[in-house]
Symmetry: C2
Subunit: 271 residues, 2 copies
DNA sequence: ACAAAAGTGTTACCCGTACACCCATGC
DNA sequence: GCATGGGTGTACGGGTAACACTTTTGT
């Protein structure tokens, strides 16, 4: 490692790293996937205190001095999903950092925990089983989590009482931000293609919009827009075989292209 | 403070907060303003090691257990600009968190410093003088900072040698992200109005786009789009007196409105 | 034949672009 | 009058929303 212009080494020799009260640095992951036409997110049921028995975003501590938060996120992704994320090539993006002193009750024992939240998304992730240190893990449909209600309860410092799985820490807040980020990015980026397994049909791609937004653009116009955006998708010359129990023409299959942005963005009637 | 569902208190009683290696948590501020038709940012010349003599974003440590990063940012804004940001009502937004272990040379003394970066913007900030603990502080035109070159040098772990003020830490990286964020948000939000002092003319507002992007939409179309976006600006019934040394009709004055988003976004020919 | 799903065509309309033009003021 | 900057009018063209329609397959 090079020196990174540290100033004079004499400074470091005389430097006292205990001069600043310590923080803990963690990462939290919102891992989204589309299953059965619904936007779902991976949650783990906590096996230990704090928040034992509550559902939480997977995550963990950043290894001090040895990795960045993003590297920690990739490592945790591997541990939680059993997949090597650098090979998967899925989308991973920082959402924000959460630092309210009382977001973690361990502040009462003197531990101030700051957490960097990431959103990851990939198609058809396997159901988490091995390699997970949590008691249970499963993909929950986002719409079943009452995110808005739970978030409001958290911000009001009131307990949430309802049918949805109760989220630990400020994870309802984090998750609502992550969901909003994904929704917004569907409109002006090619992110939707990260949600489908290759090869996919244009109808598959459109179902992603349906799952994330609850509604989707008109099919005909959707097709034209996607195909006109250079590098959004690349056509193969194969067609998908139709399911045996229904008719319809075998649709053409596509793969993801290089383009990142959709310009101008998608706009359509929201319900 | 309420209990925030911590699990059982017996857990906390037995909890060892020193079990996790400590991090330092800081905030860095990119405070933008438009001066003389140029986008400028506040930098301070560091008076202490590390990076003594380099130019840096203002910032400081988050008070352990007593404040969030955002509260620290507001506090530092007050210290750096001499203004109470809650009164100013200026825009403040988290950009991202930077956690590379070697982003701060103090890692070699065992201190892993994570920094949460914020972007703030306001019109006509006073030149910083009192209340600043830095040796010198001034607003630098962003285009004079060779951000792209400095950022590339930082990422290659090479020293930057050039005419622009040399930035400390990874602040060239942070600053380039902050600038990109501002640029992007001008297109689809009413953020530009945060850069002008009230009351302002539509030409003033358009000059913000000129300063931030280097070019601006056609004046006639700009007027129509701004006026058609409900709540972007509110007209007063006063006109600005024209400067004595030039002609022209006295333009109508406006104030900021409530709207946050411009939909559909601005698009125009970039140079 | 019929249903289901893929894919195409057509039209009307909105909106932005470009640019010409008019207005108000100071010298 | 003339320069300067604010403000308006308008014709053209591209893109997209809406929806009807054709094609391909399975039962």
């Amino acid at each position: 490692m090079t020196e990174r212009r540290p100033g004079e080494d004499t400074f470091l020799a005389a430097y006292d790293p205990t001069a600043f009260p310590p923080f803990a640095l963690t990462v939290d992951l919102a891992i989204f996937t589309v299953r059965d036409g619904l936007l779902t997110v991976l949650l783990v049921e906590r096996g230990d205190h704090p928040f034992k028995g509550y559902w939480a975003l997977p995550g963990g501590h950043v290894a001090h001095g040895r990795e960045s938060a993003e590297q920690a996120a990739v490592r945790e992704l591997g541990e939680e999903t059993g997949l090597d994320w650098t090979t998967v090539g899925g989308h991973l993006e920082q959402v924000g950092t959460y630092t309210e002193p009382d977001r973690d009750p361990r502040i009462r024992a003197g531990l101030h925990v700051a957490s960097v939240a990431y959103v990851a998304l990939a198609p058809n992730l396997p159901l988490p089983t091995a390699g997970t240190d949590a008691a249970r893990a499963r993909f929950w449909p986002v719409e079943d989590l009452s995110l808005d209600t739970q978030r409001a309860a958290w911000l009001d410092r009131q307990p949430y009482r309802g049918d949805a799985p109760v989220l630990a820490y400020d994870h309802a807040l984090i998750l609502s931000h992550a969901r909003d980020r994904i929704r917004a990015k569907l409109e002006y980026t090619t992110l939707a293609a990260q949600f489908v397994t290759e090869p996919f049909t244009l109808a598959d791609l459109r179902r992603v919009y349906q799952a994330v937004w609850g509604s989707a653009p008109d099919l005909a116009n959707f097709r034209r827009k996607v195909l006109k955006t250079p590098g959004f998708v690349v056509a193969t010359n194969e067609h998908r075989a139709v399911a045996s129990d229904r008719g319809g023409a075998p649709p053409l299959l596509y793969r993801r292209g290089d383009a990142q942005r959709i310009d101008p963005p998608f706009t359509w009637e929201r319900e």
